[in-house]
């Protein structure tokens, strides 16, 4: 499926999520399902929570106990394949990479989008961080109803 459409299967997605209890705190979700020569996620992590090892073609492994959800890895991934996820009551809060104009602004409601590119829910923009460190990739904090924890992946401006 991923090979033909670019859409990972539900099982692939679930394999990258830690237990829901763990997600009381923010954790990185590493959606890298293929051995490619790349390791900035691992080298950028200040807490050694992402392990690739000597062979940079290996897929990253998250040590959820070490991950603080700081989101340094989010704009560091050249594949834009990392989000931070957290459960806060009935909301799932994400930090996602975003590289399009217009940029979202705090307080706006945007469309929540799934991995097939379909609109699935309202997404509340909570914060937009962009700095020289993120090199033009914004890190957008956005919350959606917790039911969409495993489906939500990005936002789109509402038309």
């Amino acid at each position: 499926m991923l090979n033909k459409t670019g859409i990972p299967t539900k099982d692939q997605v679930l394999s990258r999520f830690p237990d829901r209890k763990v997600l009381i705190k923010p954790k990185a979700i590493l959606e890298c399902y293929e051995d490619i020569p790349c390791n900035p996620c691992s080298t950028s992590c200040p807490f050694d929570a992402i392990e690739i090892g000597e062979n940079i073609n290996k897929q990253p492994q998250l040590h959820a106990d070490l991950c603080t959800g700081c989101a340094v890895c989010v704009p560091s991934c050249p594949g834009l394949a990392i989000v931070i996820a957290q459960i806060k009551g009935d909301r799932a809060v994400f930090k996602i990479p975003y590289e399009f104009l217009p940029m979202p602004e705090k307080g706006q409601i945007w469309d929540g989008i799934n991995r097939s590119g379909e609109i699935i829910c309202d997404a509340l923009i909570e914060q937009v961080a962009i700095s020289s460190k993120t090199d033009h990739t914004a890190v957008v904090t956005v919350s959606v109803p917790v039911d969409y924890l495993y489906d939500f992946v990005t936002v789109r401006v509402r038309l």
């Binding site: 033909k4 459409t5 990972p8 051995d35 020569p37 940079i56 594949g79 394949a81 090199d135």
Partner: protein, 364 residues
């Protein structure tokens, strides 16, 4: 005739890296590039690069170009010719350069051919209609000059270039209607494919372009499904309207200059086509003439950089003027290159290189 110790033809990633190493070894280097700016294809790349720290991973391509250019541009041992095309290469290591309507000849003790690659094209009816572009042209127009290639576009080819350029088109506000791929699976990195797909762009595998339609410019294309043997499935034709089509179906190594000196080449599918036979110092079958980067096999720019560094080091060694850190640097870049080729995507290059090295005819 002007003389330099080393002439490097091509100022892209591999040529620039080779120049750095040779100049650090004290060799007088002339870089010749046909473009107005050095950096090769890197200057059009707005995305963050893969790889590891040694290849400037997570840095955007045009910023990597700046780093590589800064390493050479003020070096006292390096001279740079821009907007200069090498139109002739001779076995006594003479090159003819055409620059600003003037022909000039240069001779060198060693030459490195780092000419990169050219785009492959696709044969279909009306493929010369205005509005049909190669991916390189789209990137030049859009990312260098800020000109959109069209409003509604279809991408042909799902390799990394096709996927990345589709993303850049979306960033520029172009409606990318879909990505056509003749193979049954996506060619490029799946992270790129997922990035495109969640932006709502479908990827149609086992599909090709049958013909283009339009009076004075492209107005529509006819797509058709392919069976397991890549034959068109009649009855699956469908017509889609658009005003631009971008062809990204792979690259061919630019070996033509090497053919002018009768350097032996071999056809190796895994490396992208005809490539020069090189020895373990990247020397071709013509003594004193070397080659590196995409000119000896299509790979990512990250590999081209590592090959460039290595070739600069080899040339310096062969000139009896080794780089002061030669051994340590060779070990480092060899290791880095091996790492880049150590996964499923790199295996193709490894197989290709094995075929190239088999029956190796070393420089005479």
């Amino acid at each position: 005739m002007k003389h330099h110790e080393l002439i490097i033809i091509g100022g892209g990633p591999s040529g620039l890296c080779a120049a750095k190493m040779a100049a650090e070894a004290g060799i007088d280097v002339l870089i010749i590039d046909r473009s107005p700016e050095l950096g090769g294809q890197l200057i059009k790349q707005t995305h963050k690069f893969f790889g590891s720290k040694a290849q400037y991973a997570k840095t955007r391509g045009f910023d990597i170009a700046k780093i590589l250019i800064d390493q050479v541009i003020h070096h006292p041992h390096i001279t740079i010719l821009k907007e200069a095309t090498v139109v002739g290469l001779y076995p006594d290591r003479v090159v003819t350069v055409y620059q600003h309507e003037t022909y000039t000849r240069y001779q060198a003790d060693r030459i490195i051919v780092a000419t990169g690659a050219s785009e492959k094209f696709l044969a279909f009816e009306n493929n010369d209609l205005p509005g049909i572009y190669g991916a390189g042209a789209v990137q030049t127009l859009m990312n260098l000059y800020g000109v959109l290639p069209g409003q509604e576009i279809i991408m042909v080819g799902s390799g990394n270039i096709g996927l990345i350029v589709s993303y850049q088109l979306l960033q520029a506000g172009v409606h990318v209607k879909g990505i056509v791929e003749a193979a049954p699976t996506i060619g490029g990195y799946k992270v790129h494919a997922s990035k495109i797909r969640r932006l709502g762009v479908p990827i149609w595998t086992s599909t090709t372009v049958q013909r283009a339609m339009g009076k004075d410019h492209l107005e529509a294309v006819e797509l058709i499904d392919l069976d397991a043997k890549w034959q068109p499935l009649l009855g699956t034709e469908r017509i889609m309207s658009l005003d631009a089509l971008c062809i990204s179906v792979g690259l061919s190594p630019m070996h033509q200059l090497l053919s002018m000196v009768n350097a032996k080449t071999k056809y190796i599918n895994e490396l992208g086509g005809f490539v020069p036979i090189i020895d373990d110092h990247h020397q071709t079958t013509v003594k004193g003439i070397y080659a590196c980067g995409d000119a000896v096999g299509i790979e990512e720019a990250s590999s081209a950089m590592m090959e460039g560094y290595l070739t600069g080091l080899y040339v310096a060694t062969d000139m009896q003027r080794p780089h002061p850190d030669s051994d340590a640097l060779k070990e480092k870049y060899d290791y880095e290159l091996d790492m880049l080729r150590n996964g499923p995507f790199g295996i193709k290059t490894k197989i290709g290189l094995e075929k190239l090295r088999k029956d190796d005819i070393h420089a005479q």
